[in-house]
Symmetry: C2
Subunit: 249 residues, 2 copies
């Protein structure tokens, strides 16, 4: 049974998240059902990370074992046929060694977070960015982000229900810049790490937003880290601004 690596894009607001759930639509279930429809095969699709409801993916990675040997383009086109209009597509299929594991072989993950900073509500981007009204100071947000770079105990920046055995993670990049969206210039953050805690990026962004508004100071960040208390950091930023961008192996 050859193992295939799938690169997957999806619109998070159409799913209750990556992971299969009993009564709500998940990306995992949508792909598993497309595989069953295409190959008459029941199989498990294992993803690199469990994105939450509303979180988008531009380059989620999954692996799956399939018995038939078919051309790779047929896997993409065939699965996309069964996935049509569901808000999820297979961008790429590759053959990988049998010990490749989408989650455990991953050596790095990149997330992107988008904020549209304007007064008027969003139309085209309503599900694609966080709408923030108070003007944000991007330089201060970058200075705050710099305090989070490197290896830290991120207890203050993880969901209280996070089940990761260790709260220590290493952030390799946290770059804030701009990107053009139809509704205006968005503030965008690229965050890279080997792995993240549950809601870590969204809590970091909710905290940086407070810095950008002036409700927290840049110098508050080190003490928030030291406190190791979720109540010290900002609110969890909403899921629609978050994109799982790529996974490195």
């Amino acid at each position: 049974m050859p193992r295939y690596k799938l690169t997957v894009e999806y619109e998070g607001n159409r799913f209750s998240g990556w992971q299969r759930q009993r009564k709500q639509p998940s990306v995992q279930q949508a792909i598993e059902e497309a595989i069953t429809a295409l190959f008459q095969e029941k199989t498990l699709v294992e993803g690199a990370g469990r994105t939450d409801a509303g979180v988008h993916a531009l380059g989620q990675v999954a692996h799956v074992d399939l018995s038939p040997a078919v051309p790779l383009w047929r896997i993409c086109d065939g699965l996309n046929h069964y996935l049509r209009n569901q808000g999820v597509v297979i961008l790429r299929a590759e053959i990988v060694p049998p010990d490749f594991h989408a989650r455990f072989s991953a050596t790095g993950r990149v997330y992107e977070y988008r904020i549209l900073n304007r007064r008027a509500p969003l139309t085209l981007e309503a599900n694609q960015a966080w709408h923030v009204i108070p003007p944000l100071d991007v330089e201060k947000m970058q200075a705050a982000a710099n305090h989070l770079l490197g290896r830290h105990d991120f207890t203050s920046f993880r969901a209280t229900r996070c089940q990761s055995p260790s709260p220590v993670k290493t952030l390799d990049a946290f770059d804030i810049s701009y990107v053009t969206m139809p509704g205006g210039t968005a503030i965008t953050a690229q965050v890279a790490s080997r792995s993240f805690l549950h809601n870590q990026v969204r809590i970091m962004m909710g905290t940086l937003k407070r810095v950008g508004e002036g409700r927290l100071a840049v110098k508050d960040i080190p003490s928030i880290l030291e406190t190791r208390d979720r109540r010290a950091s900002g609110p969890t930023a909403p899921p629609q601004g978050l994109y799982l961008k790529s996974i490195a192996y």
Copy 2:
């Protein structure tokens, strides 16, 4: 009765177009109803251009006469309150002289057209770009666009039902470049003119796409113009790639 200029953004796929219609949702009607709800006043909202169903606007302009003198920010926030979740927002309100007319005072219009050129179907951009699978040669598309610049009889590039008295228009700009969208780098065309014929931008884009694919040659464009026959040009590109970007006065 002071006259107000409104700058309006909307998601075209949620409307049957700008113009009020008997049984389908229009942007004009949505704004008129919001004004009635906010000011208890029945009034006509006149737009600069009648976008078709599915066509977006980032800077549509409309004018309206209102009897109450209210602060401009209250017009925006108040109307946006009644427009919430409908896919249309007022970006800006300004007081203008009583002879200002959104449509007749306009001296220029800029449209943008977006193409996502990739094999996989679109998810996040399904309603925000034209999905074109065959690889497009952008240099050839620009060379073809250059033949359309300036003053021409655009009969070959207008809908057969177009009611404009003259098919002669002057294109001031037709610039093809790239823009980053979540789903990849989009090919984007910026087209400027004092005014356009019905479906002109979409028929020009449908024709340039054929050039990009190699199904038409760059040198075919002048003869298509000369033919003055709608059947000589390409198909009408779909509405979801088109954005009314700005109106100049």
